[in-house]
Point group: D2
Chain length 102, copies 4
């Protein structure tokens, strides 16, 4: 993920946009992009959306991810590490069934 | 990012949750988690939120990321590649100023 | 709608909350409540959600409405009038089919 | 509010759209419109947004309200009554300070 993070920061800094990037507005941006992603599924089921709007879905997912990386950079958070930690926490909350339960 | 993706899929499959994971509900989940992240900034500025709620902010960011990876897996999308492509597209839309413009 | 608006404002002012009610945070609140409403439909179809979570759906709808009224008050906007105007605008964009089209 | 509700339903029925209006997609629509409203406040403070984008803010608020009325109609919910009930519930949770507390 280092390569993407590096490119995201480079893109931002070449345009001098870092000065506007406060955490609150980045969190707003993540919600806005998540809803632009969701818009592809409005009035449709998953199959139709994936078939008709695959390109737009990919781009909106990229936008959510890019803003998430910018917020992670701003807060000095390692997103991969946090995801692994959250999965461990979730594993305690929702233990995997043992083979004999299945 | 392969390691996180692998863990996310493993977590899902150990619990047999993949069968419920349609794309539309995953897109809804991304919006819900993005708003749980945003909730940390409600009625507060960025500094106060980052100071008082850093742990929760990290966990909600992890949740957005985990659902994004699950949707990427479901749609067979390479999230890093798409982010790089989107940055290139954005670079055409918003050209970086040349040094003499600055 | 005057009665509800009056009660919403009264509730806010008895608690001295008006001073914190800037428009940006009220807009954030509307998005947060809309997502709490949406959460009732996650991983479920409309019928199951309406059957299992009717009470929560009603309360979250009320929350969206209450924040919308607070933002309308803050911006001195007549929400009913704006809705009627928007319907007229939409009617130009999406003309109703004439009886012979149907 | 009866007049607006009547117009909203009339608009929908003249176009035969009621058949597509399931509750889950209406809840998605409310979140989408709430985020289009929120977009007016991205990277800006409340004053700038209210000054520069008042017209768009009014229209997006109208859209949230219109979808909320459509969901209320679909679920046979009286939105004003629910808002009054929610305010009473909130009043128990957050009692108003007595004059001597102030």
């Amino acid at each position: 993920m280092e390569k993407v993070m590096k490119k995201v920061i480079e893109f931002r800094d070449e345009r001098g946009w870092g000065q506007y990037h406060n955490e609150k507005d980045l969190a707003i941006s993540i919600s806005l992009e998540a809803n632009e992603l969701l818009e592809n599924f409005q009035w449709r089921d998953s199959e139709e959306a994936a078939r008709e709007s695959r390109q737009n879905i990919k781009e909106e997912m990229a936008d959510v991810f890019i803003y998430l990386l910018q917020l992670a950079d701003k807060l000095d958070i390692d997103l991969e590490e946090e995801a692994l930690r959250k999965l461990e926490k979730n594993a305690l909350k929702y233990p995997a069934p043992s083979p004999s339960d299945q």
